[in-house]
């Protein structure tokens, strides 16, 4: 099952540049939360702070509290690797391991963690590919075809399956469909709808209609600040803040 995320007074820096300012947000378990805003507003930095990926870049810094379920992820003694196992991430550009088979792509995370039970591994690979709505398309070529041989949309679902295989509680998606055609985008959106049953989803998107279609909650970021956070239907019909209104109606700037 998915878990909630509670972000309090989150600040993040790239060197001397502050990318996030006092962001507070409560993400509801087993629902999709969309993060929208213009380029450079801090939305990707925000989601990268949720699984401690921000700190992998040089000269970065994070302050504030992020709780995933009951775990304070920036608490002393909390391992970033352990955190990332609980929080899967999918990026804009599908990035399967190009030389690995479809099967090995999905099994990679578990194998890296020393998982050896062949039978169990088969089960997890199948379940992950089914959850990612890819199983029927690849089940006959699991070990024959490489991840790179799939179409862009299939590669993205393969990456989702790979993330699901380690049984995360939260899925972070950073523009997961922006490089895909409308049919593949539709499949990813349908997938998000189904994944909510098991996972909590945070999705960064430039496509406001996509946010409106998939997310129960939406947060609007501007210049590193969370300007407004509310139910998606409220944000897109009667936003409270003029800046949100200007952005979603295309009158920004």
């Amino acid at each position: 099952m998915g878990v909630g995320i509670e972000v309090q007074q989150l600040n993040a820096w790239f060197g001397k540049n502050q990318a996030l300012h006092d962001v507070s947000m409560k993400v509801t378990p087993n629902q999709a939360t969309a993060v929208i805003g213009p380029s450079g507003c801090g939305k990707s930095t925000f989601v990268r702070c949720l699984n401690r990926m921000h700190e992998t870049l040089p000269e970065t810094r994070v302050e504030g509290k992020v709780k995933i379920g009951d775990q304070e992820i920036y608490g002393t003694g909390t391992s970033a690797v352990q955190i990332r196992r609980r929080i899967g991430m999918v990026f804009q550009k599908p990035n399967p391991f190009p030389t690995m088979s479809i099967y090995d792509n999905v099994a990679a995370g578990l194998k890296l963690n020393g998982f050896r039970d062949r039978q169990k591994l088969n089960e997890i690979v199948e379940r992950s590919l089914r959850h990612a709505a890819l199983w029927d398309e690849v089940k006959d070529d699991l070990k024959k075809k490489s991840g790179a041989s799939l179409s862009g949309g299939q590669q993205q679902r393969l990456c989702i399956a790979r993330a699901l295989a380690v049984e995360p509680q939260v899925m972070l998606m950073d523009e997961p469909a922006s490089a895909l055609d409308p049919i593949s985008t539709g499949k990813i959106e349908e997938l998000i709808f189904q994944l909510k049953e098991h996972y909590t989803i945070v999705i960064v998107t430039h496509n406001m209609q996509q946010a409106a279609r998939v997310a129960e909650y939406t947060g609007f970021f501007l210049l590193g600040k969370l300007i407004e956070f509310d139910k998606t239907e409220k944000i897109f019909t009667t936003p409270s803040d003029k800046r949100t209104e200007d952005y979603i109606t295309g009158r920004f700037g």
Partner: protein, 230 residues
């Protein structure tokens, strides 16, 4: 800025204003036709109906295209929805004007009798409501729209008074029944015009404030305080 979208919204606004002018004119002409028992005016209203109907279709088409092509959000979405609904109300206002002149055409052939009803006063109040509802739309002012809502009770009361006095007239002077009935139906048509003006004002409030005030509800879309206290 989305220039093409803005042009579409401007076009929609202009077309609706023109439609509003036609509907308002139809009601005014219908009331003049009643006051002067003027058949020429009646025919003007009847001929004007097809123009209003065509304008209604035209506005719906522009709104439909904008919804399909531009994916409007927030105030733009509320504006387009309000225009579609106001458009429908204005077309119904045109229908009520036609109903009124049909009664007038009936009355022209009947002997003139003194009727205990001030249709002109009611017509003035109703026209004022339509005019102000349209002004509230033009200026995007919800307080003007709110004033229209408050005027509706006045017209309702006029309609009730007209009913009571005209039914009494029918009882007292059976030979004036047909004329009384025509006047009574006209009072009802005017009251319906006032209802449409009220609907228009409610739609303007929805567009401007994002509040649904229909049926005295005053519902704002629910806001959930989801940002934790810090």
């Amino acid at each position: 800025m989305r220039t093409r979208f803005q042009q579409g919204l401007d076009e929609l606004r202009e077309k609706l204003l023109r439609m509003g002018g036609l509907a308002e004119q139809a009601v005014d002409r219908a009331c003049e036709a009643y006051r002067d028992r003027d058949l020429a005016r009646c025919h003007q209203v009847l001929e004007g109906e097809s123009v209003i109907n065509a304008a209604e279709r035209d506005i719906d088409e522009v709104a439909f295209d904008l919804l399909a092509m531009q994916q409007p959000m927030a105030t733009d979405l509320r504006f387009i929805l309000a225009v579609v609904k106001i458009n429908s109300d204005l077309e119904r206002v045109g229908d009520q004007a036609v109903n009124i002149v049909e009664r007038v055409m009936d009355m022209v052939d009947l002997p003139t009798v003194d009727l205990p009803v001030d249709i002109s006063r009611m017509a003035n109040a109703t026209s004022a409501m339509v005019r102000r509802a349209l002004e509230s739309f033009i200026e995007g002012k919800d307080e003007l729209a709110q004033a229209v809502l408050e005027m509706d009770n006045v017209v309702d009361r006029m309609r009730d008074e007209a009913f009571i006095s005209l039914v009494r007239k029918m009882n007292e002077a059976p030979d004036a029944t047909q004329q009384s009935l025509d006047a009574l139906l006209i009072a009802r048509n005017l009251e319906r015009v006032a209802d449409h003006a009220t609907n228009i004002a409610e739609d303007v409030i929805f567009w401007v404030r994002g509040r649904d005030v229909r049926h005295n509800a005053g519902v704002t879309r629910r806001t959930t305080p989801v940002v934790p206290e810090t």
